[in-house]
């Protein structure tokens, strides 16, 4: 397993996306698209994530993905959805400025923001 992204999405709670290293290229494209949309990726401390739910449990929640390509990648098996995590987690206080940095770190994604 390569790195993971924690995605707090809508009212479906947070999910975690995983991918294998051979799918880095596909993940890179999806992350690049999310960055363009205004998502911000905060870097997590190493070893913070522990999976406690199976991907099947998550899929049954009918989770809505942030982008269409993300959705397609999940259905084609390039990305795997992990479950709710356990234990305290902490960010390093740094953000990933490009997609390559997201690939090499565990991150938590913040959706685009604007003035209301």
């Amino acid at each position: 397993m390569a790195r993971r992204i924690v995605l707090p999405i809508g009212w479906y709670g947070d999910i975690t996306a995983f991918w294998d290293e051979e799918n880095d290229a596909a993940a890179l494209a999806i992350i690049g698209e999310m960055l363009l949309q205004g998502y911000i990726f905060s870097i997590l401390q190493d070893g913070a994530l522990q999976q406690v739910a199976t991907p099947q449990q998550i899929i049954h929640r009918k989770v809505i993905m942030p982008t269409e390509s993300f959705n397609q990648a999940v259905h084609s098996g390039l990305l795997t959805l992990g479950g709710v995590q356990a234990g305290d987690q902490a960010t390093t206080g740094e953000i990933a400025r490009d997609a390559a940095t997201v690939l090499t770190h565990d991150t938590v994604a913040t959706p685009p923001m604007t003035g209301g």
């Binding site: 707090p8 809508g10 009212w11 479906y12 913040t110 959706p111 685009p112 604007t114 003035g115």
Partner: protein, 433 residues
């Protein structure tokens, strides 16, 4: 200029038909259409029949009630019409000024300059005088707008001068206040379906809240979250500023309504000494209130993302301390290109206590107030008309913008003084753009 709304101008008669008579007479027809799977020809025929009957009845009916209702409705419409028109007038003045200064308008506001005014130049903000506004309202499309407004106001004033009509109008207004209009009882089946749908949504939202609490507790302080949920103010420590947040609505409501475009919490930005600087409005795409809090805490922790958040946020009110803090530079208040008009309006509309900043920023609103004054003067209305309007509306001032604080009179004096002697504002606005 928006010609469309001149074209769509509705006379007091039309508003009367639409909102009162048609509202009552068309009730049965509308109910039929609502419960039909698809509107059919006979629905349209019924609709046309009612319109025809109402039109003929009102043509022959010159009762005081009919005229009084027309007046009441046109008063409410006149207010918004007046507001939009004076807004457009002051925008013309702004556009002329920017053009004279060679400033390219990059905000969402369009340039509102009719061909007849293309040669007009405004070198200093205080050159915008009532005389200039009178010149503007004599060119199309403002001429037609002003004439329509004058006609409407004169008609209202005439109606208001009739004591019998005033009595009917007062009685009608009081009856509305005392006895709210009865609404038809909805179909029990529809109510049941709606209740089931609401129940499903509420259940999903409750599950979402539980997940959001768990997520929050894994990343942040759980005790702080409970403070927020209890409705108490929560201070979020950021890299440069602190953020005092407090929930505005129930947790369930704020979780269900995610994409309202309004912030789900009230947020006050404070400096590290605890002094309030401003209140802000920020939204994240498709998140509930607890996820919102999660993201704000995450963004505030990092200096870069905090600046991003502050730039994205709309400032809705400020204190005097705001102007001595670097935050006003972050928000680009000095820069016409980055400070949108609504931000300036928001600041003007709330609490500016610094006279220095007031001098710089009050141009925009003063122009609007002056335009209003010019239009009302041109209408040559009877003072009794205003008095009656105020008394009928039970304290609701339909021309509240004329009672602007620090006051229209102060603004007029300020401009008169600037015309005759040295300008009050020592720093021209052009220096800030």
């Amino acid at each position: 200029m928006d010609h469309a709304y001149n074209g769509l101008y509705l006379t007091p008669d039309m508003w009367f038909y639409g909102s009162v008579v048609l509202g009552q007479s068309l009730g049965r027809v509308v109910q039929e259409v609502i419960h039909a799977e698809q509107p059919l020809t006979h629905h349209y025929a019924n609709f046309a029949e009612v319109i025809y009957d109402v039109y003929n009845a009102c043509e022959q009916d010159a009762s005081p009630l009919c005229r009084a209702l027309m007046t009441l409705i046109s008063l409410s419409m006149g207010q918004s019409h007046l507001d939009r028109g004076t807004w457009a007038l002051s925008e013309v003045a702004s556009s002329l000024y920017y053009r004279s200064q060679g400033i390219v308008e990059t905000t969402e506001m369009p340039l509102l300059i009719p061909p007849e005014l293309r040669e007009v130049r405004i070198e200093r903000p205080w050159e915008v005088t009532p005389l200039l506004f009178r010149r503007i309202i004599r060119v199309e499309p403002w001429l037609s707008w002003t004439e329509l407004l004058r006609a409407e106001f004169r008609r209202n004033a005439l109606t208001m001068s009739d004591p019998s009509i005033l009595a009917v109008l007062r009685a009608f207004w009081e009856s509305l206040v005392d006895k709210p209009l009865k609404r038809p009882t909805p179909d029990p089946k529809i109510i049941q379906q709606q209740q089931r749908a609401d129940h499903r949504v509420n259940q999903a939202a409750r599950r979402s809240i539980k997940r959001a609490v768990k997520l929050h507790e894994r990343f942040h302080d759980g005790a702080a979250l409970r403070t927020f949920i209890n409705g108490d103010p929560l201070i979020i420590g950021g890299a440069a500023y602190d953020y005092c947040v407090q929930k505005c609505h129930s947790l369930l409501r704020s979780t269900i309504a995610r994409d309202t475009g309004m912030t789900p919490v009230s947020m006050t930005i404070q400096n590290k000494q605890g002094a309030a600087l401003a209140t802000g409005c920020l939204v994240f795409r498709d998140v509930g209130v607890l996820d919102y809090l999660f993201h704000v805490r995450l963004m505030a922790r990092n200096a870069v993302t905090e600046q991003q958040m502050l730039r994205a946020m709309h400032i809705t009110s400020v204190t005097e301390t705001f102007f001595s803090d670097p935050l006003h530079i972050t928000k680009g208040i000095l820069d016409r290109y980055t400070a949108p008009l609504h931000t300036i309006d928001n600041i003007l509309g709330f609490c500016i206590q610094s006279s220095h900043w007031e001098d710089r920023l009050m141009f925009y609103d003063i122009w609007r107030q002056m335009a209003l004054k010019v239009v009302l003067e041109a209408a040559d209305l009877d003072q009794r008309y205003y008095d009656e309007v105020l008394s009928i509306c039970s304290g609701r001032d339909p021309f509240s913008r004329t009672a602007f604080t620090p006051g229209l009179e102060i603004a007029i004096q300020w401009f008169n003084m600037a015309e005759k002697s040295t300008p009050v504002a020592s720093v021209p606005l052009s220096a800030t753009a």
